[in-house]
């Protein structure tokens, strides 16, 4: 019924009919000529930063030593791969992104299912639930750091005090869960919005039919609703991951990548390499590795996810 849409380039494989034969190649070129150069220019120009990064990744350059620039081939990549701090940053990025995406997606599905039911004040609740997504991340980080995680007057400790939690400094004792908590708070509304759109696009007839066939609520959800939601969930995961991998504000403002290197993710690692250690070459090489890895994972993961779903619903 619905075709899966992958961000992978394979999705662009032309399944369209061949071009209209009414025009000759020359005529077609005349028609598109005023447009195409501008487009190629626009696309090429947006790639300048990436090309510059590629260029810097094969140079050895330290901003503290002017004139130190020289071509070193793949040496920067070798340095990055053997750098323990880089591996630590990769590990942290995967942990951070995966836990945030999974938790916020589960919560988002839960909230969307609730909001799909009719109840008093539903639209007000929905509107309010979206708010965390709209709060400026820098402001959210500030707010969580000072008023939520503060060991003395923080709201988190206050809420957990009936359970015997007392004066815990969340940001330094449990830095990773703290950051994940902030990000889940910010991203759940986004996941919820997209899943909700999926739920509301279900046809009531299909749900009715499932009921007539004697399926209970859980079976209906699992066999009918979930397969229908698949694409919406994939889309939300994809868009969410793109932004969550790039998380910088929360880490910069709440933990500064610490304590030690406990919450240093790749963007923060690259920032440190470039703006604290001024090692532009290694920062650029790390950046290129990030891009290649992200694309590979996005392609593989989405394939795997869609395969899983098709087998389950078969």
């Amino acid at each position: 019924m619905l075709t899966p849409s992958l961000p992978a380039p394979t999705a662009t494989k032309p399944r369209q009919p061949p071009a209209p034969r009414t025009l000759t190649a020359g005529e077609r070129w005349r028609l598109r000529a005023p447009l195409l150069p501008a487009l190629v220019f626009a696309i090429a120009l947006t790639q300048v930063p990436f090309l510059l990064t590629l260029y810097y990744s094969v140079q050895s350059q330290n901003l503290l030593r002017p004139g130190s620039k020289e071509f070193v081939g793949l040496a920067n990549y070798g340095k990055v791969f053997t750098d323990e701090l880089f591996r630590n940053a990769v590990f942290n990025t995967v942990t951070l992104t995966a836990s945030t995406v999974i938790l916020s997606m589960l919560l988002g599905i839960g909230l969307a299912v609730l909001l799909d039911k009719k109840f008093l004040g539903r639209s007000v609740v929905r509107t309010l639930l979206i708010t965390p997504f709209l709060v400026m991340p820098a402001a959210a980080a500030l707010l969580w750091k000072t008023s939520m995680f503060n060991p003395v007057f923080g709201l988190v400790n206050w809420m957990l005090s009936p359970f015997g939690v007392d004066n815990v400094d969340w940001a330094s004792r449990y830095p990773m869960p703290a950051i994940v908590g902030v990000l889940v708070w910010q991203w759940t509304p986004f996941m919820m919005l997209i899943v909700l759109a999926g739920l509301q696009s279900q046809s009531p007839e299909v749900l009715e039919a499932a009921k007539v066939d004697g399926a209970n609520a859980w079976q209906t959800f699992r066999r009918v609703t979930l397969p229908h939601l698949r694409q919406f969930i994939e889309l939300a995961i994809l868009l969410g991951s793109i932004f969550i991998v790039q998380t910088f504000d929360a880490i910069f403002m709440i933990t500064q990548g610490g304590p030690g290197q406990a919450t240093t993710n790749l963007p923060y690692f690259i920032y440190q390499q470039a703006f604290r250690a001024f090692d532009v070459g290694e920062a650029a090489a790390a950046g290129v590795i990030v891009v290649v890895a992200t694309i590979t994972i996005a392609m593989v993961a989405l394939r795997v996810i869609s395969n899983l779903f098709t087998e389950e619903s078969a």
Binding site: L35, L107, L129, T131, P132, M136, L143, S147, A274, V288
Partner: protein, 292 residues
């Protein structure tokens, strides 16, 4: 395409679904919704309450304001040049969003509906660039802007949008793909130029997608902290609201309650804009990835 539009379910189906356990289910749903909602809203409620507290009470564990100081929202304007920051933020978000539309809509069209050699490669490049953390390219770009003597202004943030934005190109391309090819082919057969097809066929049909992309880029630039921090931190009169807010307490010796008042004020524009355009946004985003 219509499958994605929200559809009202007949009330009768609901009543039948509830049956005898209806009341318990109703109570359960309401309490769970209430609890989850509160969990997500508590931090924001806290911000709003602190914003109207007295300076002395703000740093205590007391949650409810003893006296409601609405004047905080006025005082905060006296303590810091908020209007300047607001102007900078509007300049950044407004010009960047407008520029994104001019530059990215044609580029997305070229990727979606024009056939040319290297199109798939160009699309892969867009996806790659989209996933590149901004910190990666910050150094080469900073050196470039410093040479042009533009650091300390918002222009290094705005100009790239005038040249095209990867995420918007990606979103718009996905949306344009949902527009049936026949419309494009028909216009072409009538002798319409590609620019004409884009302006007269694609743009009117893709309005929700374009609106969603514009909203996304407005939100992203409005909330952006890293970019303004990098380029405007050196000159406080170029600060955007995000940078100003993050360094509020240290720079202006502003009290905690006033910082929260500023936070509320900064949140409002994005909130209002989103609530107005909420439906379009959701429709645009979901259409983009889910072709019906």
């Amino acid at each position: 395409m219509t499958a994605v539009l929200p559809r009202r379910r007949p009330a009768a189906a609901y009543r039948r679904a509830r049956g005898s356990t209806g009341f318990l289910e109703w109570v359960a749903i309401h309490s769970i919704a209430l609890a989850l909602g509160l969990m997500f809203l508590l931090p924001l409620v806290f911000v709003c309450l602190t914003a109207v507290m007295s300076d002395r009470q703000a740093l205590t564990a007391e949650l409810w304001p003893r006296q409601w100081q609405w004047a905080n929202f006025v005082t905060v304007f006296e303590k810091a040049p908020l209007l300047t920051y607001l102007g900078n933020s509007l300049l950044y978000s407004g010009v960047a969003t407008a520029g994104m539309l001019v530059s990215s809509v044609p580029a997305a069209y070229a990727l979606a509906r024009l056939r040319w050699r290297g199109r798939n490669l160009a699309f892969l490049a867009v996806v790659a660039a989209m996933m590149l953390p901004p910190q990666v390219v910050a150094v080469p770009l900073y050196l470039l802007w410093a040479r042009l003597d533009l650091t300390g202004t918002v222009w290094p943030l705005v100009i790239p949008y005038l040249l095209g934005d990867f995420f918007s190109i990606f979103l718009l391309r996905q949306f344009f793909l949902t527009i049936p090819r026949d419309y494009v082919d028909a216009a072409r057969a009538d002798g319409c130029s590609e620019a004409g097809v884009l302006l007269r066929v694609i743009v009117p049909m893709a309005r929700p997608g374009i609106a969603a992309a514009a909203l996304f880029s407005f939100l992203y630039t409005w909330n952006d902290y890293f970019g303004p921090l990098l380029y405007t931190a050196e000159r406080p009169e170029s600060w955007t609201l995000s940078v100003a807010l993050a360094s509020f307490r240290g720079m202006h010796r502003v009290e905690w309650n006033l910082t929260m008042a500023a936070t509320v004020l900064v949140m409002l524009p994005a909130l209002v804009l989103f609530l107005v355009a909420q439906k379009t946004f959701v429709k645009g985003i979901t259409f983009t990835g889910v072709k019906g």
